[in-house]
Amino acid sequence: MSIVLDNITKQWPGTLALDGVSIEIVEGRVHGIVGENGAGKTTLVSILSGAVQPTAGTLNMARQPVAFENPAAAVANGVSLVSQEGSLVPHLTGAENICLGFEPVKSRFFINRREVQRQAENLAKQWFPETMIALDRKVDELPYADQKVIEILRALHSRPKVLILDEPTATLPAKEKQSLWTLIRQLSDAGMAVVLISHFLQEVIDLCDEITVLQDGRRVSHLSNVEHDVSERQLIDLMLNRGQAGNQDRLLDGALKERNLADGAEIVVDIKGWQGARFLMDGLEVRSGEIVGLIGLTGSGHFEFAQSLFEPSLATAGEYRFKSKDVGRASVRDMKRRGAALIPDHRMINAMIGDWTVRENMSMAGIQETSLRPFGVVQNGRERAETQRLIKRLNIKTSSTETKIVELSGGNKQKVSVAKWQFASEGKYKLFVFLEPTEGVDVGAKREIHDLILSLAERGAAVIVASSDLLEVAHVADRVVAFRNGHAADQIARRDFSEAVFINAIAGVTQ
C-alpha cells in the first residue's frame, strides 16, 4: 500500500516549514528524502508520523484521505517511525523493548515473559532471518547497530505498511553501518514502503529507489529511478538548487574577506592526537585573534571536541597545550584560571540560574574580582556598576540590573552569557569557546552576537565556534574544521568557503 502526500503545507509562527510538498511513497521501495538543515525534513517526518498536523494539504492511503491526529493514529493506520534519538529503555532486554506497551499477559495481570521473547524472536526471524541479535540481553549492553535493529523491530511490531527511518546511521560507527544497510534493503525487498532520511548522501544513493530533494520547505526535485549513476555532486547541486538563475551560493553573497592575523600571534590552543569518547582531533593550532569554526552533522563530535577544550577531563588521550603550557586533564576551574571561557549551548541549563537577576547571572564567574579580599565581601555598588557597564557595552535590553534573567529574550540572555566572562575580567580570557552561539536567538540579535564574537578576536582572543548554522560559521570563522563520525576530517580555509564545500566536508564527499 502506498501513501501519498498531496500539497502538504505547514506554517509555524514566523516560518513556512513546508510549502505545498507532494510525495508518493510506494510499497517495496526505499524513498530517500534529503535536504539541508531547515529544509523541512523533520517537519515532514513529524507530519507523516502524526506528531504534527499540516496546515493545508492531505494525506492519502489507498486513495482514501487519512488524518493522523496523533502518533498512535499514524501507527494504527500502518505508519511507524524509527526516530533519530534512541527510544529504547536501556535496562530492559531487546525483547522487552520490542513488545513495550503491547506485552502479552497471562492471568490478566502478569507479563508473559516467555511469550514476549517468542514474539520478538519471531519478528526478528520473519524480517531478518540471517541476523543474530541477543534479544534476551539488556539493550545498553548491545552494540549501537543492534540497538538500532531493535528499534526497527519495535516499529515493525505493530505490522506497519510504511516505515520511516530518521537518520538511522547517524550514531553508528562506520563498520556497523554496512550491516544496517543490508537490513534496510531486506525490508523493502519484503514489500515494505521505507522512507529514509539521511545526511549521508552516498548512503541515500546506494539504498534508495527514489529520492526527493527538499529546499526551504519546497520539493525542488525528485529522482524517480535512482541507479548508481547519480553522483553525490549532482545531489548536492540539487540540494542547493544551483544552476538556476538567482540561486547562487548564499555564502558568497556577503563578500568573504580574509582577515589578516598579526604576524607571530601567540598560539593559544595547541592540540595533538586529542581524543575522547566521541571525537578525535589529530592536530589543531589556534592563534590569538583567530576564529575557528567547527561544523559537522549531529553526533559527529564537533560539540564534544569544543567542550573538551574547556573541560579537558572529557578527553581520554592526547596532548593539549594552552598558551604553551601542558594542560593535562585540568579541571574546568583550572582552565578558567588559565584563561579559557565557555559559552555553552542550552543556556538555561548550562549557563544561567533562572530565578536570579541579570546582575547575579552576569557576575557568576567574576564576582570575586569586585569583592573585598580576603573574605570575599561583596561590594554591591561595584557589582552593580560593572553590570551596568556591560549592559551598555553589549547593548543588552533589560529594564534594570535587577530584572530576572528569564524575562529577557533569547538574544539578550545569550549576551549575558558572554558578558559573564568580561565581568571585571576584561582581557583576562584568551580563549572563548562558543557552542551554538545563536541557538534560539532572533535575527537582529544574531548579528550583534556575531559582531561580539568578531570583536573578541579583534581584541586578541582565540575563538572556537561550534555551530550547526553553516552560514553563521562562514560569517565569523577564519577557517573551518569539519567533523565526520567523530573525526576532524577536513580543514577549510576562508578563501575556499562555500556551502557546497561545507556540505561536502561534513557529508564525506571526496572532491
Binding site: V332, I353, D355, M364, G376, V377, V378
Partner: protein, 329 residues
Amino acid sequence: MTMTTTIAHEKASRPMRIGILVQKYSTLAVLIVLFLAFAIGTDRFFTGTNLVNILQQISMLTIVAVGLTFGFAAKEMDLSVGYVVGLAGLLAPLLMVAGVPIPLAIMGALGAGLGVGLINSALVVGVGVPSLIATLAAGSILWGINFMISGGRAIYGGIPAEYLALGQGKVAGILPYPALIMLIIVAGSWFVMERTTFGRYLYAVGGNARAAELSGIKVRTYRVYGLALSSLFAAISGIILSARLGSGQPNGGETYLLDGLAAVFIGMTMLRPGTATVMGTFFGALLIGIMNNGLNLVGMDTYVQSIVKGIIIVIAVSVVSRTTKLKLL
C-alpha cells in the same frame, strides 16, 4: 531601551508581580496577625518577660534551622540534624563528667557534629547517595549511638556551673545567653549568605549546579560546606540544649528536625520565594515560637500545637510549590 518597550514589559508582568508580592508578605502578615491576636487575647503574652522568653525558646530551633538553610541553599537536605543535636548534647556533658575541661568538651562536641557533617557529605558528594537518604540513614545510626554512649540514661551530676550558665544565664540580667548566641549566629549567617562570595556560590550551586560548575565554582566543595555547616550548627544547638537542661538527654534533639524543616519551609515563602534564606528561616522559627508560646498561654495542649504546626507547614509548602519550581530531590 526605549520607553514604549519598558511600559509594555511592565504591563505584561504586573499580575505576576502582585502575585509574588502577596506571597512575599503573606507569611509576614500571618506572623503579625498571630502576634496581635495573642497580644489582645491573653494578658500574659505581650509582656517583656514573655517576649524575651520567646526568643529564648526559639534559640535552639533557630540555630538548627539556620544550619539547615546552608544545606538547602546548596540543594541538600539534612535529616540527621535532630540526632546531631542529641549527640553533641550528650558528648559535652559526658566529657565534662569524665573530667575534661569545658572548652575541650565543647570542642569535642562541635568536632563530633562537624565529623557527622563530613561523613554525610562524603556519602553525598563522594559516593553520590542523595542527601535525603544518606542523612536519613545517618540519623538512624546516630539515634542508636546516642543511646549506646549514654546507656539510655540522662547524663548529669558533675557538669560545671560555668557550662550551665551558657544555657541558663543572662546578659545584664535581661537577655538569656541562648538568645544572644542565636542573634549573633543569625546576623553572622545572614552576612555570610547575603554579602559574601561564599553565600553567592552556595546559592549558585543550589540554583543550577551545572551552570555553577561551568562558571568555575567548586560545586563539590560547596555541597560539602552546606552539609558540614548544617551538622555543625546542630551541634552548637545541642551544646546549648544540654546547658539549658543541665543534663544530656539521649533523645534530646529529636523535635528539632521537623520544626527546623518547618521554619525553613515557612521562610522559603518569604523574601525570595522558593529559596531558603537566613532571614526567612529566622521569621519561620519566630512564627513557630510565637505560635507555640501563644497556644501554650491560651492553654492549648501540645498535641493540638503539633496539628496546627503540621497544617502551617502544608500551607507554606503548598504556596511555594504552586508559584515556584520547588525541587528538593
